[in-house]
């Protein structure tokens, strides 16, 4: 389900890092040796044996990150991102695996389109990439895609991300049928008659600025509906980029009742509220929109208690000329691959809101578990999927620093703490700085 260019697996010794793997229960200063891309030894004062040595005293070595929600804009908008730039950005952000959304042009709704992506990933991808296929043909919400064939061709999951599955009957059919394909269905929850003309969260800020409102219930109504369908069918669903308190509460209730629902949340929804939109900066326009402080608090709490298992960037590159327009006509979406860890470390871990171990788990094992991928771990015999972090380093986010082809980040000019120093993805040193 994951594809990358084949290349030399690395031989490495990472020396003196604080090795932190919440899943394996490790938190100690140790050396880690990688032979042919596989972790071969964890211990003290390991011999280099001619391997490349990464001196890592004072740094943290953790399982590398998995991003379950990325827009690689390929095929169709390679001017905004392509497989090379997107996977380089991922490597620089500490990711050893990413999952790409199918809302491309053409939509990934046939084995032919998917096959060509898999082929390109095998030639070009710097870190392993998985590809979602659409739930409905053309993401038009009408006919189901050939899910079994798509799964056999390598689809990592199914989603119409960017659009909701509007009709409940179709939603039910998709959930029934995807069981045969053996993949998870992931849902963009938005009731379209409630978001018509919407530009931002409906509340005091939208009232003051005059924007069409995008109410919380537009998300939570659909979340509740789909959790009910999932409960009735006894099938799992995954909820993409949750933003509203009501959605989180519905998910928690459903989980308590035994429904197999999972959720993800983005760094921007964890760090920002609708107050930020007062700047009218088009890089603060996203779908779902930034919501109120109580929503942000509920998302953080859900991430802490595990109701939400995954952090997803929803990395959405846009061409500069498309964002250099009035807020009202700007497209939705911001980039995030290269800033996710740093901004969450700076804004949530350093102030004591979220434990570092929880952040690392939700950025790695959490998302892997949802889609049935092998969780990155630091254990002898495991493929090396490692990220080396300098928690003391401060850096300024600049356009020139991005590997992504697009720079529509809400963090331009911000100083962040914590920086990725190296990424090993599937046994290959994919990034080092």
């Amino acid at each position: 389900m994951l594809y990358a260019k084949s290349g030399e697996k690395s031989d490495l010794v990472i020396r003196g890092a604080r090795v932190l793997d919440p899943g394996e229960g490790i938190d100690a200063v140790l050396d880690v040796r990688v032979d042919g891309g596989v972790i071969s030894e964890i211990g003290e004062r390991l011999d280099a044996n001619g391997h490349r040595v990464l001196e890592a005293a004072g740094l943290v070595l953790a399982p590398a990150f998995v991003d379950p929600h990325v827009h690689l804009r390929t095929p169709g908008r390679e001017d905004e991102e392509d497989l090379v730039s997107g996977t380089r950005a991922a490597a620089a952000g500490g990711y050893c695996a990413i999952l790409a959304m199918p809302n491309t042009d053409p939509v990934v709704d046939s084995a032919a389109v998917l096959g060509s992506l898999v082929e390109r990933a095998r030639a070009e991808a710097e870190v392993p990439v998985g590809f979602f296929a659409a739930i409905t043909k053309g993401q038009a919400g009408g006919e189901l895609t050939e899910m079994v064939e798509l799964a056999e061709a390598g689809a990592a999951g199914f989603t119409d991300d960017g659009k909701p599955v509007v009709a409940p009957g179709l939603m039910r059919r998709a959930l029934q049928y995807v069981a045969v394909a053996g993949r998870r269905i992931a849902l963009h929850e938005e009731e379209p008659t409630l978001t018509r003309g919407g530009q931002m969260h409906e509340g005091r800020v939208s009232a003051e600025l005059g924007f069409g409102g995008w109410p919380s219930i537009a998300e939570s109504l659909m979340v509740s509906r789909d959790l009910a369908v999932a409960a009735y069918e006894g099938r799992p669903i995954h909820l993409l980029h949750l933003s509203a308190r009501e959605s989180v509460e519905a998910l928690r209730r459903a989980q308590d009742e035994g429904v197999r629902g999972t959720g993800e949340v983005t760094p921007h929804h964890l760090c920002l509220t609708d107050e930020a939109v007062r700047s009218l900066d088009p890089n603060l326009k996203m779908n779902p929109p930034l919501r109120a402080e109580e929503d942000r608090a509920a998302l953080i709490e859900a991430l802490r208690d595990g109701t939400i298992e995954a952090i997803a960037t929803d990395h959405a590159p846009h061409a500069r000329h498309e964002k250099e327009v009035p807020f009202e006509s700007a497209p939705f979406g911001v980039t995030g691959l290269e800033t996710a860890f740093s901004v969450l470390f700076t804004r949530l871990v350093e102030p004591g809101v979220l434990p570092l171990a929880t952040l690392l788990e939700r950025m790695s094992a959490g998302p892997a578990r949802i889609y049935g991928l092998d969780a990155p771990r630091i254990a002898v015999g495991a493929p090396a999927n490692l990220v080396l972090l300098d928690l003391g380093e401060s850096w300024v986010v600049t356009e020139a620093g991005f590997r992504s082809k697009s720079a529509n980040s809400w963090l331009l000019g911000e100083t962040l703490r914590g920086r990725v120093r190296a990424t090993v993805a599937d046994g290959r040193l994919a990034y080092s700085a």
């Binding site: 018509r196 005091r204 600025l209 409102g213 327009v325």
Partner: protein, 332 residues
Amino acid sequence: MADVRPFIREELLPPERPPRRHLISIADLTRDDVERLLSLARAFARTLEREVKKLPTLKGRTVVNLFFESSTRTSSSFELAAKRLSADVMSIKAAGSAVDKVESLKDTALTLAAYDPDVIVIRHPEIGAPHLVARFTQAHVVNAGDGKHQHPTQALLDLYTIDEEFGGIEGLHVAIVGDVLHSRVARSNIQALALMGAKVTLVGPPPLIPRGIEAMGCEVSYDIGAIRDADVVYVLRMQSERMLEGENYVPSLREYAERWGVTPARLRPGQKVMHPGPMNRGVEIDSAVADSPDALIERQVRSGLVMRMAVLYDLLAHAPVEEKVAAIQEVA
């Protein structure tokens, strides 16, 4: 040519540029700013009583009016205000310009910026357009209406009109009636009136009153009877042109007029009535109300001229307010 340009600039431009400021939202203003603009407008009103109405104050300055939406009173009053101050004025309407040929707003702004305008006055159907122009040009930007967001000079001229009528704004009660949801005039006025210490009540059908708007410092009533307590009844235009098709904000204009139209029977004698125009007579306002002596609607238009003179002058001249007023009087 390269070494001529700086010479020309130094000779022809005023010796120093004032600190760059914009007027994009009433939220950017303090009460002192508003008081200053009101006294400047009063000073300009006195100059307009003279036979020769033109002042040399902004001679050599350039004002660009960039209008992407149709407008009669706002564009004409900005143009006349600039001319009365002897500025060079260029008025660009969306129709027939590069704008219609799908040029981006950024490129239009860059093109105009090449002429080094001192002020760009912009009206645009999208929220955030003035911010974009401010970002890509060196000009002072005056927002003449951006989507449903703000129309600050309208609110300032309304304050001026109220101030002239009542001799003060603090403690007055203003009812704003109608389609608040689609109204930039309402948003600017709520902020401006609250800033000056007036009480504001919004009156209209629930779908046209945005959720959460009380946080701006106003009260909300769905009952037209609530206008009886107000000193000023400010009637908003029913903005059918901004309404999304099929959204059913109100079942019909007939029912709206019936329930929320401002009619003589719903007013107390002596209550003042305002409307930013253009009016839908028979919908939000009855003709008898619009034409009554208690309607301040024409005075709002006259206030528009002096207030826009005040705004342009205030952005471009940078002296303390007493000196500014004295300077205007001296010329007058």
